[in-house]
Symmetry: C2
Subunit: 318 residues, 2 copies
């Protein structure tokens, strides 16, 4: 039984690979180091259960090449984690999300069909809900993302149905909140610490700091996904919100935590408006009753996750 992970050199991909390898599960990782880095899998790159394939998952002209390289391997699970992770980059240039998020999904789906991989798992996002009011459940509608990032994730989700019609057994779509931990490659804590390294006396915050979001630690996210895979056996598309029970912490709280940890004399300077950038969703609250019905409960609150990640990312960067 082999698990294939696209985006294995990224933040979540490398954590997932480490977790699977720790259980002696065979892993093939795919990445092209466009956003991920080899450092991220330094710790397990010599594990005999780990194979690596350097390949650009967004390249439509190399789908057959990819299929040929992987044919004959008995891949049971494909974890599609390759994606753009920089929402703001995709606001400036929509080609970023088209290529890194949507086309990689298209190629991953084509690969699943060609190799008859029975299980497909995809990282999606709370951003698919856009600015829908109220608690967001998996059946909330209409889904109108306001960032290209969210749009290309939702588009990627759309590709799964036809694949199930053509023989795929189970597909899992996990809609992530903000995920934190190490090796951090992006995100609010990572940005704040990097800013304070450059200008220790001042921390400039995008927006007025009132944006309030849910955060989850990567370790808990991975456990939650593995729990769902074990708990749901029915053929079909299974979509889950994964997140904490609370409604999140504000950017202001995070800025204060980072400042007090790294550079406690720094002045925090806020911008205007409750959006960090065009397409930023100022606040949302996940309804997680569907995953909780599978006897899964988050252990950490958003604040716990932030505290843990501030420590970890400080250690990573300083």
């Amino acid at each position: 039984m082999i698990h294939l992970i696209t985006g294995v050199a990224g933040f979540i991909g490398s954590n997932l690979a480490a977790q699977l390898l720790s259980k002696s599960i065979r892993v093939i990782g795919v990445d092209n180091f466009h956003l991920g880095s080899e450092e991220n899998f330094e710790k397990f790159k010599d594990d005999p259960n780990f194979d690596f394939l350097n390949h650009d998952m967004s390249d439509l002209s190399k789908i057959s090449e990819l299929q040929n390289k992987l044919s004959g391997k008995k891949i049971s699970y494909i974890w599609h984690l390759a994606a753009n992770s920089d929402i703001q980059a995709g606001v400036k240039d929509s080609l970023v999300d088209l290529k890194l998020t949507f086309l990689t999904s298209y190629v991953a789906i084509e690969l699943s069909k060609a190799l008859s991989i029975p299980n497909f798992i995809m990282a999606s996002t709370s951003a698919v809900y856009g600015e829908l009011a109220g608690q967001l459940s998996e059946l909330s509608s209409p889904l109108t993302p306001i960032s290209n990032y969210g749009a290309m994730k939702l588009s990627s989700e759309s590709l799964i149905g036809p694949c199930l019609e053509q023989g795929m057994q189970r597909a899992f779509v996990f809609r992530f909140p903000n995920v934190v931990g190490v090796p951090a490659t992006h995100g609010v804590i990572f940005d704040f610490i990097n800013k304070l390294i450059k200008t220790p006396g001042q921390l400039e915050v995008l927006g007025d700091g009132t944006q309030k979001k849910c955060y989850m630690h990567v370790s808990e996210l991975i456990k939650a996904m593995l729990h769902c895979l074990q708990s749901v056996e029915e053929k079909g598309l299974h979509c889950f919100n994964v997140g904490p029970r609370d409604d999140g912490v504000t950017v202001k709280q995070i800025a204060e935590k980072v400042v007090s940890k790294i550079s406690h004399d720094a002045e925090i300077v806020y911008g205007a408006g409750n959006k960090g950038w065009v397409g930023d969703v100022p606040s949302f609250e996940f309804n997680i009753s569907k995953i909780e019905a599978l006897d899964w409960t988050p252990r950490l609150t958003s604040e716990n996750a932030i505290d843990l990640a501030v420590s970890e990312i400080s250690e990573q960067l300083l």
Copy 2:
């Protein structure tokens, strides 16, 4: 005030252009004759209010070229009708729907942003609902299309939200039922008549004939869309099911109508199963209360539309 129509050489595009031009509205039509044909706009190609641009809307490398050709024109509406129309072709090769449906939508959206076109209108489809049970309303969820055609239409819809965030005023997504009329380029009536031309004694039907779908005549569809544009002034994304009130007619009924019209001694030979092909949705029923609330009412039933189209398409092909 200029209306730009992508896919102007196609079935619906050419009908829409004719309708707008009949009201002395200026139209720029874009097409590359991949699926459409010049014949389709023979009747209005010399209209002084009509300009034509031969361009491949799926070509990402030519977005700037397209923008340059159209910059300086005061385009108020973009009707994005360019798309794959052959669902079965997209089942065999998913690249067809990726390119002709999704990438053309991506390019149309990029064009809207670059030229600040305030109104975007997109042809979507009942296929976005997949096999959801019950009456399908615009808020039905989850949307899990089972054909690549439906998946790429749903993906295209997803692209609109970020664009509204970046300045677009109104976006209309019209989810079409099966649309019939002339100039027919595809569809069940077109296929049946062509089959009977080849083999007048026998009509082979894909599936067992029990598939039941809603049909709308193209003339009524265009009136319905124009009615919505006039009735809804609010900024935002406005999604409408457009269709008749009934739950449709069966493929068997259509086969019998075509046979009695064209070749009344022909034997009708049915296939197996209630799907014409992988990804075919055997039956669906639209809830059209949202568009009806705008004081629009369908004049024709599905059966009326089929009867009219059988006459028209017979005349076109025979």
